[in-house]
Amino acid sequence: MTRRHTPEETKQAMHLIVGEMYDRIVKGEPPTMTLPVRTKNNIGFDKKLGVYKYGKKQSIRDATSLGSAKQLLRALHVVEFIEEMLVAGKSSTLREMYYISEAWGLGKFGSQNESNNLAEDLEIVTKCLREDFKLRPEEDGARMIGNLTLRERNRRGEWMRINARDDVGDSGYGVPYNVEAEKIELLEHDIDFIMAIETGGMFDRLIENGFDEEYRCGLLHLKGQPARSTRRIMKRMSEEWDLPVVVFLDGDPWSFRIFASIAYGAIKTAHISEYLATPSATYLGITADDIVAYDLPNDDLSKKDIEALNAELTDPRFADGWWQEQINMMLELGKKAEQQSLAKYGLDFVTETYLPEKLAELGLA
């Protein structure tokens, strides 16, 4: 189980990686770094945690090719950099680390993607969180609106009480990148469920139509593939307040993936799925059925869409009957539809007809 580590524990965990490299050299072997295979072929359902986690497949990154050797050297630089931050009590964004690596000579990163991936690698191998490493993303979290109240520690270190309906403007409450207990405390709420929404347009439509008040829910704008903090706060609200989470997305293969990362855990972050995923989340729509049932304006599936759907058919997270049916149906239809295609029937159709009908199926309306 992933948990927070003290600076000393973090340092020890990182030294294990460094020790693996060092010991191999001493033995006259190429240095290595062992880490789980990070593909869909190596994720499995953890019954105890109720989410998908990396399996037992290991890959060994060894210094027999230039690329891998450079990765190892970079990892060492990152470890050293983190240790320095732990000592100095500082933190840095992943992007800052990428720029700092400019000074690492041979160990410098080629792209920011590389540095992000390496930070994840280190999390996986050490079982620490990037928060333990004092690394933070610059990705911005979600927006929230609804009658829920929380406490956030501001820059001056003072706790601020915020109600996400009364104390915010139209853009809602902005979820910070750190939503852990030291930063955010969930206080109270007067809602029945949380609805996560893919697009900003739909989020704003529901607010304008007063959907959150009428249906007593908290609205959360995901901004596409949700950031770690967005998934984390959803999980916390779901667990700490015992609230159902429904997810309202476009009806295409990419939305299916967004849902999987919310409910089951993302492949890239399967090492901390139990920390980020909300297993009780429900996919509300747009489903492949909806495209037919509501006769929604649609687009043809692109070649990439079809590839993605076919990949999902063999993804263990979509192995259950309902998903297989949905994916196959979408492939058969050869169509996809956006959330906002519901506007075909008028601006109020989504709040007056579609969502009430869908929520009724779940017993939430």
Partner: protein, 684 residues
Amino acid sequence: MTGIAQKLASNQKQVAISEFFEKNKHFLGFDSLARSLITAVKEAVDNALDACEEARILPTIRVVIEKIDVKKDIIKLIVEDNGPGIPQKSIEKVFGQLLFGSRFHAIRQSRGQQGIGITGVVMYCQLTTGRTTHVRSKISGEPTAAVVDIGLDTRKNKATKSNQGREIWYNEDGSAKEHGTEVTAQMKAKYQKGRQSVWQYLRMTSIVNPHAEITFTDPEGEVHHWPRVTERLPTKVEGIKPHPHGIELGQLQRMASESTDSRLTVFLRMNFSGVSARASKELCVAAEIDEKTKPKSMNADQIRALLEAFQGERHVKGKPVKLLNPPTNCLSPIEEMLIKKGLSKTIDSRFISTLTRAPAVTQGNPYQVEVGLIFGGNMAADKPVEVLRFANRVPLMYQQGGCLLTKAIESVDWRQYGLDQPGAKGVPKGPAAILVHLASTNVQFTSEAKEALADNGEVIEEARKAMLEMGRGLRKHLEKKKKMAKTKEKFELINDILPAIAEKSAHILGRPVPDLAGSITKIMSAVISETSTTWNKETKQTDVMITLFNYTSRVRAYTILATWPEKAGAEMINNETGGRKEATGVWAWKLPSLEPGERTVITYSLSGLERGDWTETDVFFRGSQDVIGASKMDEKFLEEIRRQERALSDPGDADSTPEEPAEPMGEPTVAPPTGQTTLFGGDV
């Protein structure tokens, strides 16, 4: 030349020059306004190059083209050379007379086989602009230059001269001109750019004449300069007598009628190449003519019979008369190294391979094929490669598709050598240029236009073989490049990255920096060779260093082979590792066993080369384990070199000599005698 000359001679009496010109302009090279200009430049530049070659002067040629009247397409052309100059009384002959001299009996490789000559240009100018051509020429030792305007009297079909005089010729820098000739002509013509242009003609000329310095000022005033890259003039070619296999009836008739020999055998021996004393007698027997017959007195039937004996249609003792091949010293190939220089000064590239095949004989005519391939650099990767065709150092610019040289290129499956060639058909695509040069005493063209070489199976095969070998060179280069990149990575890994990993991990853990030797062996797990070929400014030699590292955990043993430009006259010196010559241009060293972690170094220098002549040494190995940075010795490659060696030493017998199996690390081959011997053991 003879064909046109005869035609002109017979036509001249009946028709006006203008009419003749109009009728034959397509094969005279004046069929379009753009081509007329190229032809004019070509005639003038060919003359300049030939004159300089004859006088053993390194040519410096200046070409200027100006637009005089854009609307009427009137262009002024100036071509100036530093040749020996023309004596005043001969100027008229050179520029105004179509039948000046005959190359009839002297068969040799010359540029002048092609085209009508400079007189055609004078005619064309006269006919299109009514203007005369201004000639200025100075010979060494005379204080002044001769000047004269040459024209043609179209009514009398005769050269005219006017404004004859003498003047002091100053160079642009004010100094007095030593010797040379300058032609200034005005004609109706069009200046074009691109693949068929004066620029391209001069560029190509410069490639195959690396000893020439050419400057071209185009109508926009832009100056193009192709510098001289060698001080070596082309070999002076000897004229040879015709070979019986290459002669036609008319020619034989003429030779017989002009002969003053008293006996047929003497006539045969003295006037033909490849005819020994014994062969001359056998030819008489085969033709059923008394060997004492006076050649002049032979009748038509006898001449025909003799020709049949020449061609092997009449036998002696059931066999055709065996004739020797003609000597091949009448050819002047450009030679590999100079083609390389010519190409590299003109085209920017990463890789150049050139090849001169041994001379061969087809239908009694000696010929020699040379090829060059230039790859990489700024050339377009998605377009067909540039084809550069030459016959006797003269660029061929038209009718590419119908030319034997193009067909030879198309006959190769270039895909296996790293070039794109959809369906293995046509000219390959890729960032490359392919040069093909045919040197011959008798270049056969498809038509009088003399822009495409006629099909000839033997020549095609010879050109094809050359290209296959060159293609192998390209493939090897590309493979080597890949391997070198891989090796470079490995070295970066063990020299830079691994020590950094060791240091950093030791630092983080607060432990001592570990020894890397074991890890390095495991990571490399290979034998690696590194080769450097560098020009040594002080010694004026090319220094070569081949280093072999054994990064495996076992003892390894190899024979290392390296190429060096022996044919270009390079000599291997300071080679302390010893070894021995394996074939022409291939040296071999049998190395003592190499312990794990050990290295061995071979060093030597090459003398007799200039800077830039030799920049890349090919390294091969014999041994069971792969060597990164060297190629496994292809024994077929050695065989081909040996076959060429034999061909060079005895061209007549190249194909009939049984292939001897390559002997690895054999004793150095003894140079075969260079003199010509007959198949029957006698002298030529």
